[in-house]
Amino acid sequence: MSRIVGIDLGTTNSLVAHVDAAGIPRVIPDAEGRRLLPSVVAYTPAGIVVGEAARRQLARNPARTVYSVKRFMGRGGEDVREEARHVPFEIVPSDEVVRIRVGDREVTPPEVSAQILRTLKEQAEAYFGEPVDKAVITVPAYFNDAQRQATKDASRIAGLEALRIVNEPTAASLAYGLQKLAQGLIAVYDLGGGTFDISILRVKDGVFEVLATSGNTHLGGDDFDRAVVGWLLADIKAVHGEDLSSDPEAVQELRLGAEAAKCRLSSEERTTLTIPFERFTYRREITQTELERLIAPLADQTLGPCRLALKDADLTPDQVDKIVLVGGSTRVPLVRRRVEELFGKTPHSQLNPDEVVALGAAVQAHILAGGITDMLLLDVTPLSLGIETLGGIVSVLISRNTTIPTMAKEYFTTSVDGQTAVDMHVLQGERELAKDNRSLARFDLSGIDPMPAGMPKIEVTFLIDANGMLQVQAREQRTGKAASIEVKPTYGLSEAQVAQMVEDSFTHAEADVNARLLIETRTEAETVMNHVRRALAQGGHLVSVEERSLITEAVDALRAVEGGSDRDAIRERTTELNRATEPLAQLMMDTALREAVTSRRADDILKRP
């Protein structure tokens, strides 16, 4: 079997990993040696840019840069209305699958995710020097069927066969288990950029049996940042008398600043945020206590799912042997304290919380390829599956936390003489009424032989496979004839739509790796030139005439090659420009912006004058 990679398709960052010849799971870096690919896709007039280059031009190009697209996967226009208010890109109103308008085109979340997956695929191909077309991709354990399907669609569009969709906390447990770091009853607490999962497992004799899982697919570090940004906007209004809330570029500057400050506050008591705006420079000291006051209600929202998972696993917190922390947001001290208070034990994070999910996905890929035979993963379905019955009541066919694969059978009949079709509405969720649950799809069973009402007996098999995804089969018992089923996904792409997108991805020019890399390099050059221009305007007087002219020369040199197709030349001259600007950046740091730079790169702070 050809090579299978493991991919963590994250809200904030994505990674690709593999198990090496020695049996050790490892993250595959890009050509630059970077291990995390920011999950940001920019649709620039020159072409599509993915990753760090896209992230770095976000504040310059907010309307055409898509980030946190995972929060929109498998959802309808109606249920992202609130979410849409917080992002600078435009969500097109729709009753069906979410569409994002970027410039003159509209894209769906699976297409955006496919760009990220394709970049990771190319990264792996460059690393191995051979094609990679199979992957294990992780999703939050609490993802419903539509969200899983959207992920699978994204994979197909990217030219990757998703051999398995595996749950993130379970993948993490595999990475821990492989290194014999986990035995007994384990709780995996996974708080990422946009999603929260809690999974309780029994690890025994190489079997990883998930007992229960719960979570919230819209709770994560993004929400922490949002809370901080709201507070900063109010502060700016009070101090400077300016309302920046409707200025998307300013909001993005604040969001990136808030995120960086949050990260620094994981290891420091206090930090200062410095953001130079057009008319004033905003400076604000933030203490850990202030941050915690803002995010405490969000951190507390993770505790309910934890208690519910424990209850479903029929355990008390003290029976759990080990708590494993996964996801970047578990670096926040308040989050750690809350987890420790709930379980009465110090949680662990021996493996890098940003990488452990990708490593686990690589382990699962290795199991599928036959490379590991003594580890077995038994996962569960996170949500109950049911069908709508008379009066809009849900009849549960498969309860949440049932080990997968699993199946249930249900019998249907006709209510009118000669009826040849029956429809059914499949839902996921824990509520009694159909309207309160997640509508997955409507199925039309057709091709039933005309018979008197109530005579046909149609056996419908609902099967949840090892991906946690639903398959439906129907058979008329009397004739033994398979009834045909037409699936109308409520919030997903149709088979024809996905096929079209796969085809488009082959014909589009940006599918070409070199063209994509060139665009990325150009975008990066523009970002740096932009920073330098601001730096000169803001602090040009700090350096000597000679140094200033060196910088201008470097800018001219870069500009001369920037429009061309010699990628190496552009990169070289971008590096030279960065180097020429170093003394200036250093001086600026030393003077006005000293506090802001502790953990940011020099050119990151040289923002708008």
Binding site: M1, E82, L376, L378, L397, T402, M407, E430, R431, A466
Partner: protein, 198 residues
Amino acid sequence: MTDYFEVFGLPRKLSLDLQELQRRFYDLSRRHHPDFHQTADALAQAASLEASALVNRAYRTLRDPLARVEYVIALEEGREVREETSAKPRPPTDLLAEMLEVQEALQEAKSEGLTAEAAERLRTERDRLEARRRAEEIAVIEGAAEWDSAVDSGAGRQPLVDRFKQRLAARAYLRTVIDDLSQALGEDAETHVAHRRH
């Protein structure tokens, strides 16, 4: 339909060694789980999926002593079992009068709001019903030995089936009332917290 006991190679009895059941479950999972058949042809993959689904369902049913009893009754009566309890909720005959009072109190709470006094009453009632539910469950579980010896001796099992069904029906009924009481007390929030729409 394949008998769940046959799946694990166990006799059709209610007393069962859970450690042994788990060991056999892990063994069968290692044999059938789709993870280990990824490289096989489509037919073999489909077969592994189906076998694995059956093993999982069988384990889920047999590891729980009450689900095990319900399953055995269904086998006895030649019915197919569904995921949800097959017992039709019926109030325990000795509690009929009390149930009427509880329903009345619930109605009152619904229409007039919950006073501290009423809440206290509902809570006391719920605790009593919880205790009764547990008692019914224990009685069902403890009936296992009697059932198994009837199986061994070939004695008539219908009276035992009837008794099990009666207790299971009472338990199903009590569960509904307890849920209603919790809801009226506003104490069921936790179970639904994760499912809130955003």
